[in-house]
Amino acid sequence: MESRNIMIVGVGGQGTLLTSRILGKLATEAGYDVKLSEVHGMAQRGGSVVTFVRYGEKVAEPIVEEGQADVLIAFERLEALRYLHFLKKDGVIVVNDWRIDPITVVTGAASYPEGILERLRESHPTIAVKAMDEAKKLGTPKAFNVVVLGAAARHMSFSKEQWIHVIETTVPPKTVEINLRAFEAGYSLSV
């Protein structure tokens, strides 16, 4: 099998690292060769953050390069747009319909682009989820990234049972139930 290339992008502090680790563990448990790449240090401080997950029979490089991503998971709209050119022609976008202004916008040096979702849809099949609203409904805004992951789950080659198992064994014990509900919410949104 040719390797599957997943990108998770967002804003530093949104939990891209944790999400990629869940995905990495899932692919490992499914018996694939897996490589993940993360960014630590200064770039994490509210900046644009990207992590890569690759799985398949044998994976060489740990990064996903431009034009190589099968799935682009974005925790914020503008970040989806920023990394759009990393997608393959037949790639899929799963985006959290949520806006976080970069400092350049807050200070008025730049403006936040309008119509991002439309631009994404014109370019690639796009699933936009209001993950923050869903997570708030569950009483835990922080679980929004698992909602997004739930929506993305249908575009990866794992069974729902495998997903549930990895969530149960990865997140802190106290948060298992809420995370499973967050996953289910996302999973049912993307039908």
Partner: protein
Amino acid sequence: MSETKILLGNEAIARGAYEAGVKVSSAYPGTPSTEVSEALAKYEEVYAEWAPNEKVATEVALGASISGVRSMCAMKHVGLNVAADPLYTAAYTGVRGGMVLVVADDPGMYSSQNEQDTRMVARAAMVPVIEPSDSSEAKEFMKYAYTLSEQYDTPVILRTTTRLSHSQGLVSLEDRCVPEDRPYERDAAKYVMMPGNAIRRHVVVEERLKKLAEDACGLFLNRAEYRDLSVGFITCGIAYQYVREAMPEASVLKLGLVNPLPRKLIEEFAAKVDRLYIFEELEPVIEEQVKAWGISKAVGKEIFTIQGEYSANLLRERVLGEKLEFAPEKDVPPRPPILCPGCPHRSVFTALKKLKIRAAGDIGCYTLGAVAPLGVIDTTICMGASISTLHGMEKAKGKDYVKDWVAVIGDSTFMHTGVNSLMNMAYNQATGTVIILDNSTTGMTGHQDHAATGKTLKGEIVPAISIPALCRAMGISHVREVSAFDQEELEKVIREETQADALSVIIAEAPCALLKGMVFPNKCRPDTEKCKKCGACLKPGCPALTRREDGTIAIDETMCNGCTLCMQLCKFDAIKLVKAGE
């Protein structure tokens, strides 16, 4: 035991050290090396500590080695500069128990002030360098580094890069195997490096490297993979993976020992392939040696870059001649890193900006005080340099010149090398002002403890070194402690101390907002009725604040930590502190 686990490159290195029976580890945190020490500290059998700086860490590791056990120290590339003094001479003394320095380079400078190549330093210091290409090799090579260290009686550098350190891959775990402690025997000719002894040891160092270079042709670390002979690559580290990705049919000479180089093996490989590329990130270290041996067909930096990270696409473009056109979307505003909501540095910089004071900066999150909207830091060089550069300015231009200057340095950076610079100011009768941004942690690398936090890497609670007492012990009488969030007090103290004809230290205290266990009972909330839309609260660039379409202010309460900076800047009493959740 044959468990397979997915591990970060740095965790795999730590696992290798653990399995090799390492007993002592010392390090100073630095991205991308930090997790090596953190992961190693989790093994009960290993003593692991944070040292104030890399020179100390390296000497601790050397001492442990001289006493007869296996030891490790870890640092980022620029940390090796700090450790250069013991390193160059440790090459002369050699080791008793195996000793490995883990050094992490940062091609692309994700979190560094320069892009230096550790292999250059290692060549100058005449120390062998091993370089793995993924997590699995990171563990294997780390273990083997100890065998090599003891066999050739030399410290060994395990070189990694950001991409390797911070990517994860599958690693099969094995048991820990501790070699017997080597008994201590006095050997002054080997361990007392005074000229008479060092002259003889220098000969040993040269012979050792020559011998290792010959043996390197047969080491498993170096591997020739012959496939299509029309094109061959000599490569090492993560770059190997890009070759395998882009050109899986190409022949590859994969070097795991990158200093010294296996000349015969390289000549043999070069003779067998038609076209030969040297594919190495950063400096042309392999390339220059290969070309010096007369292998003129080798192509390297003529088509590949010295700067930044490599990729498979780089090979597709430069070697395969593919035209890759990936146009990034237009009108995407950049999203640079920023200080967090509730960060005490923002508050101090806001006061400096208001007072129109410039700052000589240092290494840490607070380097972000150099960029808009704060823009108060004018210099950033290396760890500890803020204090000494400020001193240089004063001695060059006189004491009045530095009345609108300060040095800003974090608590961890101050303990690292800033303390030496402050001693210099005290000794040489400086009158400048040093602000220690004391957020009780090493922030940027992910919250490591240090000598002034009162906790060790192993989690032990210990007496904290008092920074104010340390400053006073230098004979500095102007030592002021202020809350980093009190604008009025900050302004008053900074004004007084910069004007005073005496050396002053201002310790601006407030814990890092991301520190574990921090609770924020309050949130700032705007009162839209009272808001005059002046935007004063927006000026420090707190990410929790935005302007609504009608011009009034909105505060995202999920981000706000209730630091009150915006509240203090509001002249119209339009921001209130409320209990979280109300």
